[in-house]
Symmetry: C2
Subunit: 379 residues, 2 copies
């Protein structure tokens, strides 16, 4: 069987590794031969994700088309399906991940807990101010599409911050939301097949730095009913959208243990990287199995706790590949580099460690990450 | 850093997966673009492993040359070294794995326990009969080189079986050995770097069917002093040969818990496949780290027991890739297919399972393997 993946970043790179295990023929649609998945040896077509001809060429070569990002225009996903190709996740599900307003509306219709929100239309500043005055401040203003790694989100504490916040956003199509006073951010990664099979990994505690996902601990320290609730909500969302493949749902947890749906992604996700080492089946294997409608794999953890720390490019442009021998002195860590050119703040890799104590396990991954980026090593 | 690997079979394929994690540029010398490592996307040069020009082209492209088999003529490995290339393992160590008589002599000189043996020279049948009459029957007759997966080994129970046994062997350069009355075969996989760092995995119990390694359980059920002894012997051999990279040593264990060195390989080995899932660092990662003289990785097991069953091509030519969806119903197994065309008896993949009870763990891997090869599933 062959799978076509639109995009050739690190998610496609790690999907390629899983495809090797199962002798699945993976073809990626890459922008460049320097893309991480192509450098890992994935067979590629070169083309843009919003070029209908490139998408058609990819779809013609494979049994199933899937995605490592959300940048395919939704009408092109619809067109692929109408041309008779298997597109997983399907265009409708994809839409909820591509356009945050579409997603929010779908979740609200399904009765899911979302922040109070409103689409922003012709007169953004005035509409956001009115939203804040009516529903309360601060207001979170988001680009409806194209945001990732902290781009596309701004917070206005009051009316006088609205214009600056809007000006910082890359897109003019916006969404306003009430700020959720969360005490913990968690993510749930699951996988759903066209036959309706569902598997889910334990919730992950995520921490962001400047909006970029930075550290993850699996399982998150949640009261068991909360852990069960977020896992069930992830399933409900997957079913409501008829999503196929991996789905990642990010939640806010409040001091009162209320949970609110934040973002979703319909693809393997940074929150699930630890599953490579920590779970019986990785999210990348389960994504391939799901989009091929094969039986899904066991999500049981092999260790009490797993921690992942992202390797973000250092300010001085240090190349983690050159610092690898030092970082490999930290025993009990698994280093993944994505084969990207180093640049400040760029996600260049990640480090996963397994252990029994969350603090010690996270500290080990942090030490290796610090060595990879030429930073002082934490204790 | 870049590593050149002579050979592009399944060992090179799995080494490529490890190279992806560490963003190491792996280049394989492949006979064909259909070779397993090339199908997995490893960058390749096409050439024969006994073509000095092909070897020189590979060496010119990379920082270090290593091997996925023993088929490079030793003088060519010497020539690469003399031309200034880093060859790991070095030619002298490689010789002991390439020519069983060279190996036996080296081990005997180092005071290691080996079966009583003799090189066979001009008059094979007469010399083997004399060897058996003097040292005892049965006699094991081996091709000094080129044997693998049971080829190159024959047993003569008495003088009248010698001619037939010799006729069955592929090479005319032979070695005779006393048969060791073993009760268990075990293998030890370790890795040694040029700096002298050494790591070793727990011993593995191996079982062969028709001379082909078929099932492996790690750790082998050995008395602790025996386990420690075979691990120490593996280290002694690696140091005596000044070997670098992964070394696998196969041992016979007798009823009295005596251990005798059988074969060695200076490369990742079938006995170590379970380390992909079962160990903190796989043998493929450690091979790369060792040949690059980087710090070696933790060999601790992540589960009490790991079992591996090889997927050997069924007599009817069933293709495991087509039977994968059925086999994936067996939870708690990790399937690896090598991307080879199915042929009876051919090693097409392997299945590893982790667990706590050796019998149950092995049974799970056997069930998935049976489903992959269209055989009746064992209980």
């Amino acid at each position: 069987m062959s799978v076509g993946m639109v995009g050739a970043g690190q998610l496609a790179r790690m999907t390629h590794s899983a495809a090797i295990d199962l002798a699945i023929d993976l073809v990626v649609l890459a922008r460049s031969e320097d893309d991480p998945a192509v450098r890992a040896g994935a067979r590629c077509l070169i083309g843009e994700p919003d070029d209908p001809q490139a998408l058609a060429r990819l779809a013609a070569e494979v049994d199933v088309v899937t995605f490592d990002h959300e940048l395919v225009p939704n009408d092109m996903a619809v067109a692929l399906t109408e041309a008779g190709h298997q597109v997983r996740p399907g265009a409708r599900a994809l839409h909820a991940a591509q356009d945050k307003l579409v997603g929010r509306n779908a979740f609200a219709r399904a009765g899911l807990p979302v922040p109070d929100f409103a689409g922003i239309d012709r007169d953004p500043a005035a509409e956001v101010v009115r939203f804040g005055d009516e529903r309360g401040w601060p207001v979170v203003i988001k680009s409806r599409s194209g945001g990732y790694d902290g781009r596309g989100v701004a917070i206005a504490a009051g009316p006088d911050e609205v214009s600056t916040a809007i000006a910082s956003l890359p897109s003019s199509l916006l969404l306003a939301e009430c700020y959720v006073p969360w005490v913990q951010e968690v993510a749930v990664v699951g996988a759903r097949s066209p036959s309706g099979d569902w598997v889910v990994y334990p919730p992950v505690a995520t921490s962001q730095v400047d909006g970029i996902c930075h550290e993850l601990v699996m399982p998150a320290a949640l009261a068991p009913p909360v852990a069960g609730r977020v896992q069930e909500l992830a399933r409900t969302i997957a079913e409501a959208l008829d999503a196929t493949g991996v789905i990642a749902v990010e939640f806010f947890v409040t001091a009162a243990d209320a949970v609110v749906v934040n973002e979703i992604a319909l693809r393997p996700h940074n929150s699930g990287h630890a599953t490579i080492e920590a779970a019986a089946t990785s999210q990348f294997h389960n994504h391939l199995r799901a989009v091929l409608d094969w039986p899904l794999g066991d999500t049981t953890l092999r260790a009490p706790v797993a921690a992942t720390v992202n390797v973000l490019g250092a300010a001085d442009g240090s190349d983690p590949a050159r610092l690898l021998p030092q970082a490999l002195t930290v025993t009990g860590t698994s280093i993944h580099l994505y084969g990207k050119a180093a640049a400040p703040g760029r996600k260049l890799g990640h480090v996963t460690s397994l252990g029994s104590d969350p603090e010690e396990t996270l500290a080990r991954a942090r030490r290796a990450t610090a060595l990879l980026t030429g930073q002082p090593t934490p204790p």
